[in-house]
């Protein structure tokens, strides 16, 4: 007891000092993050609340005089909007093609350039380049590449098949768009896979090979399971990007006078966010368009949550080496 009474007076000021220190630390923390916090409140939180309120109005982007609260009308209309349903169907189709194909390609590229091969840095650069090429340039590159008159694709196919004349952007616009997006995204995914591959300790593979495992077995049973967190990351980001596709289909118009953002893309490339964009910026239906976008957000969120739930079954978070 005597010891305790002796200790007490000493601990209280120390605790007090710790508490003050904690307050000071908290103030420092909030000061340090204040630019982001301020920006988040002014440029994200308030606009998001505004957008949500806007989706229950008939706002036209200009005039506040006619602003009217329309309740859930916009949402009811969106659910019955045939164009929106069609566009959502096209978007899901594009996603179901581009995401798996892209993922397999990215992984294959990473495995290939991770081998001990000559010029591996040159190969990496070539695969990475399309990822840094801006969208306007990428669309131009593919437009000219598949152009019926000056493009390489038809010229090459024309050697094999006489009178070959497919107008790719008119007849198969979604096919060209899929190639463009897979080509453009591959390098980014590859680099993330490479980072993952280099995070796997070489001893794991060596141990398996000494035990007599073949190259394929090492890839299948050692590398792939340890890569599942990276696969998961690329899968989620790939889906989020694919569902929001807008600029590429807007710009990939069949016209010859440039990339015509004013025109509606061909019906095949009429994707969900394209529809929302046209409702908002062409038809000035800011309220209705916002409702369309919130519904998309709900779909994106739902899919992400679903993926995170299934991830428990197949994503292997290994122990840190």
């Amino acid at each position: 007891m005597a010891g305790a009474t002796q200790v007490l007076p000493r601990t209280i000021p120390r605790r007090e000092a710790w508490r003050r220190r904690g307050v000071r630390r908290a103030v420092t923390f909030y000061l340090l993050i204040s630019p982001w916090l301020l920006g988040f409140v002014l440029l994200s939180a308030i606009p998001l609340v505004g957008a949500f309120v806007m989706s229950f109005t008939n706002y036209d982007g200009l005039n506040l005089d006619y602003l009217r609260f329309v309740g859930p009308d916009n949402y009811a209309r969106a659910l019955g909007d045939a164009d929106a349903q069609y566009a959502l169907g096209r978007t899901l189709l594009l996603m179901l093609v581009v995401v798996p194909v892209g993922l397999v390609l990215q992984l294959a590229l990473a495995l290939m350039v991770n081998q001990p091969i000559r010029f591996s840095n040159a190969f990496r650069t070539i695969f990475y380049l399309p990822y840094v090429i801006p969208v306007v340039a990428g669309v131009w590159i593919w437009k000219i590449f598949v152009d019926p008159s000056g493009g390489l694709v038809n010229a090459a196919l024309g050697v094999v098949l006489p009178d070959f004349n497919v107008r790719w952007l008119v007849e198969y616009p979604t096919f060209v768009l899929a190639l463009l997006t897979i080509w453009g995204a591959a390098g980014g995914g590859m680099v993330v896979f490479l980072a993952g591959l280099q995070g796997i300790p070489a001893e794991y593979r060596e141990a398996a090979m000494i035990d007599g495992a073949s190259r394929t077995q090492v890839t299948r049973f050692i590398t792939l399971p340890l890569l599942t967190p990276v696969i998961f990351f690329n899968l989620v980001t790939g889906i989020i990007v694919a569902l929001q596709i807008l600029v590429q289909p807007m710009l990939l118009s069949p016209g010859i006078l440039g990339l015509n953002p004013g025109t509606v893309p061909p019906r095949d490339n009429y994707f969900y966010v394209v529809h929302a964009y046209i409702e908002i910026f062409t038809k000035q239906l800011f309220g209705y368009g916002s409702a369309l976008l919130w519904l998309l957000f709900a779909v994106v969120l739902g899919l992400t949550v679903l993926l995170f739930k299934t991830s428990r079954r197949w994503v292997f978070y290994g122990v840190e080496p």
């Binding site: 920006g39 606009p47 505004g50 081998q115 090429i133 590449f145 090979m209 340890l226 929001q244």
Partner: protein, 280 residues
């Protein structure tokens, strides 16, 4: 590479298996870019008639610069991209440092918010921002990019947080004993050692503005807009016919600086991503 892998070498068939697919893939990836360069060097009369140029038409590049007021729009792009990248990197580093090194109630939840803003579809956020900027009279100005820069980028904040979290804490303690405040520790200890993260995020921030078409198309005027918006239009001859060859020369000039830079900095970028962001 590892010893066990190195020992199993290498018949011609194995070499073929190792190099065949990667060479084929590289050709497939490079062909569209190669074709851009080929087209940019043709005579306009050769477009659609000759596969390759008979004489390389470097004059197309001069025309591309003259006919589109290229320098003006390139300057706009350069100014806007640099200003945004500079602000966004500095602010994101500061905020990332805060998240990595200073604890406070609510820190975890706030960091979740950083990640969450990353997931909101672009347009969901942009439409109300557009309305806001229009109401404040900030359309047709570069203010939106300045404001975006000043509030940092979620991607870069995440990158810096991960990067700074791996720094040894003893550094801070030593500096604190010497009487340095958090800002000085950040500027004199963290920033000088954050080379890879600064480079990787600066490049991506710069590239985002340089490559973006949507926001300048919606927010800026024809005369103060960026090169991306200008390049979306084809070059035309006086009769209004498209000049595909000159257009491709213009597009090449628009991307060549990036390509040259990335070919040069490729190793550095990959290392930056490996050491900072997502580890397997």
């Amino acid at each position: 590479m590892s010893l066990a892998l190195a020992r199993r070498r290498t018949s011609p068939a194995q070499t073929g298996v190792r190099y065949g697919p990667v060479v084929v893939a590289a050709i497939a990836f490079a062909l569209p870019i190669f074709w851009l360069l080929v087209t940019s060097l043709k005579k306009q009369s050769e477009y659609g008639s000759a596969l390759f140029p008979s004489v390389l038409q470097w004059a197309n590049y001069e025309l591309a610069v003259e006919l589109a007021d290229f320098g003006h729009f390139a300057t706009n792009s350069l100014v806007l991209s640099t200003a945004y990248a500079l602000l966004a990197v500095l602010v994101s580093a500061l905020v990332g440092y805060g998240f990595a090194r200073h604890s406070a109630p609510g820190r975890g939840k706030l960091f979740m918010l950083v990640i969450a803003t990353w997931m909101v579809p672009n347009l969901v956020l942009f439409v109300p921002q557009f309305v806001l900027f229009a109401r404040l009279g900030l359309t047709n100005t570069y203010w939106p990019w300045i404001l975006w820069g000043l509030s940092g980028s979620p991607f870069a904040i995440f990158l810096f947080r991960q990067f700074f979290a791996s720094f040894p804490r003893e550094l801070d303690d030593a500096a604190e004993v010497d009487g340095a405040g958090p800002l000085r520790i950040f500027l004199q200890i963290y920033m000088p050692n954050a080379g890879p993260a600064i480079a990787a995020s600066a490049i991506f921030m710069f590239l985002w503005v340089w490559g973006d078409w949507l926001y300048p198309a919606l927010l800026l005027r024809q005369d103060n807009t960026t090169l991306a918006v200008r390049m979306a239009n084809a070059y035309l001859d006086p009769h209004g016919n498209p000049l595909q060859t000159v257009t491709m020369a213009g597009v090449a000039l628009y991307v060549l600086p990036l390509i040259a830079f990335f070919a040069f900095a490729q190793r550095f970028i990959v290392r930056g991503i490996v050491t900072t962001g997502i580890k397997g």
